[in-house]
Symmetry: C2
Subunit: 452 residues, 2 copies
């Protein structure tokens, strides 16, 4: 599915903007395998010879990407079976999601009989940043594609996945694979979870789920996988009204909020409660080590932010313990008397990067601190980009996670981006930073509890 040597694009179109055109264009950008457009009405599309049907392609083909009207899909699938293909991605909609269950069942019979593994129908398909396999039909100028990296995303909703990919592309986070699996003809979330669990280029798995047809298998697979790598789950349809909306969307059984929360907890899935949380947690898992516990050291150059950060950590079940005597003494030596050397450490408004260096280095050595939340207000006169070297160097060497908070206008945004690019997850909200530290702490606790 992700690294085919050759792909037949069935339903390729010569008309710019049409789905069959956008997908063909996508496959011609970077993907190294051979691409065969299939369309009985064209001789050539985008400079490639076009075939009237799959059977007419002279060579062996690994995978079919199918974007033809629903009623033509069974015949295309039969052709693929005769051609000996083992995989198909059916983009076309018009099946069970609009009540056309009989047609979907027919396609499933053909697929299973011919041993064709199918992603879809009614989906966006797949994106692989390494092989550049890309069937997403959102135009590239509207939806950015992320660079290579360790985050993979399984999504029951194409739209949710598209937004996350676009976000990651814009912010510079690395992705491995994205799979929008639609109606799950014969490959579902459980199969995909198992697959990504074994995929060496996937370090973190994100899932958007509205429901599952295989609850027990899902929990088993998730538990198995989450011992190896973190799984972040966003469950939609947790309210009664949301569950009704699910019924009109993917037709899944949403299940109750409590059942899902329990299932996630049992399987060690880190639950995100919103889309931005999925993204925040994934960045932290991909970029930072896991904390050994929940004791957070807070550094700030604005006292109010220290107080708010403390509240946010406590609300999340984290601790903000007093500093060890030795740590306080070490910092005291290097900061003026009007700085507050407690936890939170307030380096005050005239702090420069050297005070940050002193505080971070002392916290890294302190065995009673498991992670660092470092707030930098770039509005102040004495802070400049040198603080970014200090933090990113510490983050490279550290065996404790470091996350940052920096909020404000353009100057602050630029510096936040530089921190991000240096691999330090940086948030404009203290709550987001604390939520994220809590998420990676929770995952570490789960792994320890299972290993005992």
């Amino acid at each position: 599915m992700f690294k085919p040597k050759s792909v037949a694009m069935v339903g390729a179109s010569a008309t710019p903007g049409k789905i069959g055109h956008v997908i063909l264009q996508g496959l011609m950008k970077g993907f190294e395998g051979r691409v065969y457009p299939v369309n009985p009405h064209e001789e050539e599309i985008l400079g490639l010879k076009c075939y009237p049907k799959v059977a007419a392609i002279p060579k062996q083909v690994d995978l079919a990407v199918i974007a033809v009207p629903a009623k033509l899909v069974p015949q295309v699938m039969r052709d693929c079976g005769k051609k000996g293909m083992r995989g198909a991605i059916i983009i076309s909609g018009g099946f069970s999601e609009i009540g056309n269950k009989a047609l979907e069942d027919e396609v499933r019979r053909i697929a299973n009989k011919n041993k064709i593994a199918v992603i879809g129908p009614n989906c966006l398909g797949v994106y692989d940043s390494y092989s550049k396999m890309d069937t997403l039909f959102n135009p590239r100028y509207k939806m950015e594609r992320p660079r290579e990296g360790g985050i993979s995303f399984i999504s029951q909703s194409g739209a949710v996945g598209a937004v996350v990919m676009d976000w990651a592309g814009a912010e510079g986070f690395g992705f491995s694979k994205f799979i929008s699996y639609g109606n799950a003809l014969n490959i579902d979330e459980v199969d995909l979870l198992d697959y990504l669990g074994k995929d060496p280029s996937t370090k973190v798995i994100c899932m958007y789920l509205e429901g599952t047809r295989r609850g027990k298998d899902f929990i088993k697979a998730a538990k198995r996988v989450s011992l190896k790598k973190p799984i972040i789950g966003l469950k939609a349809g947790k309210s009664d009204e949301g569950a009704k909306a699910v019924a009109s969307h993917t037709g899944s059984l949403a299940g109750t909020a409590r059942v899902w929360e329990a299932a996630f907890r049992q399987a060690g899935v880190v639950e995100a409660r919103s889309m931005p949380e999925v993204f925040n947690y994934a960045r932290a898992f991909a970029e930072q080590p896991l904390p050994k516990g929940g004791r957070v050291g807070i550094i700030t150059n604005g006292g109010g932010f220290g107080v708010l950060a403390t509240d946010a950590c406590i609300e999340n079940g984290l601790e903000v313990p007093p500093l060890a005597k030795k740590t306080a003494q070490e910092i005291r030596k290097k900061v003026p008397s009007y700085a507050t050397v407690k936890n939170p450490i307030d380096l005050v408004g005239d702090s420069d990067y050297l005070r940050y260096e002193a505080a971070i280095n002392a916290l890294l050595k302190d065995k009673s601190i498991d992670s660092i939340l470092c707030i930098v207000l770039f509005q102040t006169a004495d802070i400049d980009s040198r603080v970014i070297s200090v933090i990113s160097e510490a983050s490279d060497l550290a065996k404790k996670p470091i996350v940052c908070c920096a909020a404000g206008g353009e100057y602050s945004r630029l510096h936040s981006q530089l921190l991000e690019e240096a691999g330090v997850p940086t948030f404009s909200s203290l709550k987001a930073a604390a939520d994220t530290l809590a998420a990676i702490t929770y995952y570490d606790e789960f792994r320890k509890s299972v290993r005992k």
Copy 2:
């Protein structure tokens, strides 16, 4: 304080980057009153004649901005009293916040004896976007100044206020006044609340509080003011650990979370739980009408987002009721059969701006819907900036609040900004959008309950 005809800048400095230089520069940009630098060691600063002391200024002066070492402040204040000045903003730190209570008491005695109203000490001072009175010493290239508008902000922490101002400046939201009041010598949050309650250019009041010395007066004043205009309160130090951090920061008594929550509720203060919430709520109050109730109509072009939005509304105590029959019929006529015409309304991935127009207009007429949450995924092939005209025109005419959600990379961000500039609060997070609708609904309910 906000519109003096003349200002003495005591502690003006000729050295770029020094506080007394940055403030003087700020006062020379746009502020129309006369500015007199005071510094015994200079003849002229930035082209202005410099006076050795306040008494040497030949004309009457309304206000002193004081940025000299703490120990010199009493003498400066005596000079101001002799000069007949009625207001002073003391930027200087080094008083009760570092334990120097005696010096602060001395300054208070002098101020009260001479009837000088004082903002500070230990503060950033004030900013007024109309008079351009600006004592903030954050350099302008690091901290943007917001344009004229209806939001005012009272902050016990300079840093928190600075970030909000910078944010507003970058995002283009209008501010009226910002006041960082520091140690509250003889003007505190209660006085400022009363003042802004009467200030015609202030439509929405935001407060960052760590504590108050006048709990009962605060509740009374807040209740009086919040019947006229919304107050958004962010209380820091709600956890025990946060309260300890408050003691090291402003030395206030933080009070327990429950007491504050009850006080806010009693006084009709809309409680924000984080900095971004303050900002989100303020935008919605400033730009949109109040809803008549909690029934939300949701529009989306991505089904998953409709489900998540429904969950987020329900979690916030809002309702997502079924559409009235007439509304559904009206929309049905203008959208294809595969669209879902329920609440949430899913216009599906190939929706153009015309489907949005049909859905919004129908919801505006529907008496069983009080507010609209409109999700636009700009990643899709058929959406472009025409949907912005549709939404912003509806928002201009509407007597119901409309908020938007649009998430993603650069293309989506640009379009979100255009929506914002058209006066439609636009969020990248569904949770933020639902939280905000809940906040303005809560405020309307408070006002109705008091009026009964």
